[in-house]
Subunit: 196 residues, 2 copies
């Protein structure tokens, strides 16, 4: 049986999400219209509402998916049986590489928090806290093992995440440094920062 003309439901949904992510990252959620997203996808604006209840849900779904995928990927990569120094090295590499591979999702997830409605904001913030907690527990293990020293575990967690995420603001593909070299340099700095 021939497929009906215009029967693209399996592909239109993802294409809407991809277009929205890209436009939100470039111009910001508030500056992007549903018509703009529709044009990018190649459908009329009304059609978008078959795939999302409203613009807010589109933003929220993108951010929630980014955060849950990030958490899942780290939990897969983390070797909890290893020592804290080795786990921190793995975290440094994972965080930089994972974020460099998804600049748009990272950018939207950090910049558009204030455009979430209160309920959605709380859910995203909880996921972010969970990710921070993963790093903090590594730092605390290292302190118990006597291989790390730092002034305050929560504050050091936030300092390290800010430092590592900052790579996304300046890294340019094909620039002076390869991702591998960036990871090396940051690990050298992280290692000294937590040194006893």
């Amino acid at each position: 049986m021939a497929r009906k003309t215009g029967s693209h439901s399996n592909i239109t949904g993802p294409r809407i999400r991809t277009a929205a992510l890209s436009l939100f990252a470039r111009y910001g959620y508030a500056a992007v219209s549903m018509r703009q997203i529709a044009r990018e996808v190649g459908v009329q604006a009304g059609t978008l509402y078959r795939y999302t209840p409203d613009k807010q849900s589109l933003l929220f779904d993108l951010m929630r998916d980014h955060m849950t995928t990030l958490l899942g990927a780290w939990d897969q990569a983390d070797c909890t049986s290893q020592g804290a120094r080795s786990r921190l090295s793995a975290f440094t590499r994972f965080h930089i590489i994972y974020h460099l591979e998804r600049p748009e999702a990272v950018f939207v997830s950090y910049m558009e928090l204030r455009n979430l409605n209160p309920g959605n904001f709380e859910i995203i913030e909880d996921l972010r806290r969970q990710y921070e907690d993963r790093l903090e527990s590594i730092l605390k293990s290292g302190r118990r093992e006597g291989v790390f020293h730092f002034p305050d575990s929560k504050l050091t967690t936030l300092a390290l995440i800010a430092m590592l995420t900052g790579v996304n603001t300046w890294y340019r593909h094909g620039g002076r440094l390869s991702p591998e070299r960036v990871v090396e340099a940051y690990w050298e700095m992280v290692e000294k920062l937590v040194h006893p």
Copy 2:
């Protein structure tokens, strides 16, 4: 001679800028309307255009003033005759305190870059680069003096600034740590990070 009723030109201009800064910080440039700014100030929307040519100039002026004031304040505070370690300590303190005192201007200046038109963007980016260069030259002096070691001066500059500016994302007035304690903790981390 009695002042004319409604003659507030000396105060309305600054009040527009304060209201705009506050609203841009809370809701984002694109999400804030000129009518909203006018309501906050207590004038009609048309009146705003006696004080700014358009909405874009309002944003640009706020960002440019923040960056030039920041640069001027650091150049005032920097004791170039001192050693690099002492200057880096001063920079760490200056950056954290100065940024904590102006959360709205800092937030707007980091979040609304993409809402600047190309010419304005270039001017702000140049000011930002100048500020980064101030830190980088301290790091290079320290390396020449033999009191610092790091993998790459530009990369370390950006890592440190990201780390220090990150304080603004989590610090809450009246929270667990005083600004003074935050400065101490960050200096301890910065010092180790650049340790030979």
